[in-house]
């Protein structure tokens, strides 16, 4: 289980590694989805696990735009921040 002190980036990388069943060391922020062998179904599984991990809902159309891991981390950060801020 990730500690709360883990950064969002660390938690996202862990989710990718666990979902794809590959060693955490092989997943770096600059890894491409292709390099990691992540296909469309793996993406679905990762989105599902990210929603559970961060207790967020990821919109279909927003999810389709994500091309790489930094964009994924940025998107998750945005959703986590929105959840924490009361006016959203």
């Amino acid at each position: 289980m990730p500690l709360m002190s883990d950064s969002i980036q660390d938690r996202v990388l862990k989710i990718i590694a666990n979902t794809r069943r590959i060693p955490l060391e092989s997943v770096r922020p600059d890894s491409s989805f292709e390099e990691l062998g992540i296909d469309s179904l793996d993406r679905l599984n990762i989105l599902f696990d990210l929603e559970s991990e961060f207790d967020i809902e990821i919109d279909d159309e927003e999810a389709k735009k994500v091309q790489n891991i930094p964009e994924m981390i940025a998107g998750i950060t945005q959703l986590v921040d929105a959840k924490a801020s009361p006016e959203s």
Partner: protein, 403 residues
Amino acid sequence: MPRVVITGIGVISPIGLTRDAFWRSLVAGTCGIRTVNSPDFEQIRFKHAADIEGFVPEDHLSAKDITLMDRFAQFAVVAAKEAMSQSGLKLTPAMREDGAVVTGSCIGGRSAEEVGYRELYIHNRNRVHPLTIPLGMANAGASHISMHFGIQGPSYTVSTACASSAHSIGQAFHMVRCGAAPFALAGGSEAPLYFGNLKAWEAMRVISKDTCRPFSTDRSGLVLGEGAAMLVLEPLDAALARGAKPIAEIVGFGMSADACHITQPSAEGPARAMRMALRDAGLAPEQVGYINAHGTATEVNDRTETAAIRLVFGAYADKLAVSSTKSMHAHTLGAAGAIEAAASALSLANGILPPTVNYTTPDPACDLDVVPNAARTQQVETCLSNSFAFGGLNAVLAFRKFA
């Protein structure tokens, strides 16, 4: 081999509760997709589907029968009744003994299971309804059709996801053609608009954000629908001998497996199924004038299907009309192959090609004549109906205008 014709068609669809109402909507380009005001959709991110309005089981079935059937089985029997009554086929004891019933359904009556599981898991009850199994089984449609008409020959259900009822019609066609059955009732039905299944489709992230726009560059996915279609298939000689008027001839059936990915289709698998249907029918590609596409309106389906059509038809693909009637009746999963077979047969019989509606902008990767937005008066001699399932299982039917 004897020729096989379609002598009756029954349809229950989001764009018409009978064959004729369905056909009128296809010609008018009516889209059956709308916001569904049902509690099942309350916790779902999408609110649109092509549900069936105005279906009253009591108008067609006895009270006792209704309690024994889930919605998908009711659709199956009612569509079969319309098909049989249209065909005018009078069943002799010998025909009853050997006649075939082949249905397709992807999820069958699983909504009945869901009701039971809700009782167990949420309401902490310790029992489920005693009919949960017979209501839920995928073959309930075939069983109730066989009982309703007393048809006792080869009867079964095919479940190949979105190709289920194309496989069922194809297999029934082959049985009638080879003489294994003197006639067949074949088709499919589906009632997938219940909470648990909607949640599962939501999780797949393939449902469109607005409507169903096959082959249009601004498409964003498929839309779920419910419904049924059943066909009566007979040898041509027998049909003519009893004075029946064939609607269209069914001439070929091809099947293949992609053998590559559980959800990502290949172009080669569908192409092989189309080639096999043409070979089975003894048709050259250039004899085909129209394809009723699988056309789900997911990017991957539409592009892969276009590539597959180009593999089979080469430069001639530019002369083909290819439309997706899912743009109107949506994706009825296990019923889709049968509803689209009905659309194909009716387009041959009426000399009109149904359109791809909701079409706005061409996608360069889907550069086919998709009959955009308006039906076209055009008599083609033969057509194909494509059905490609998750899991890479493909079924293609070939039809010829009856003349």
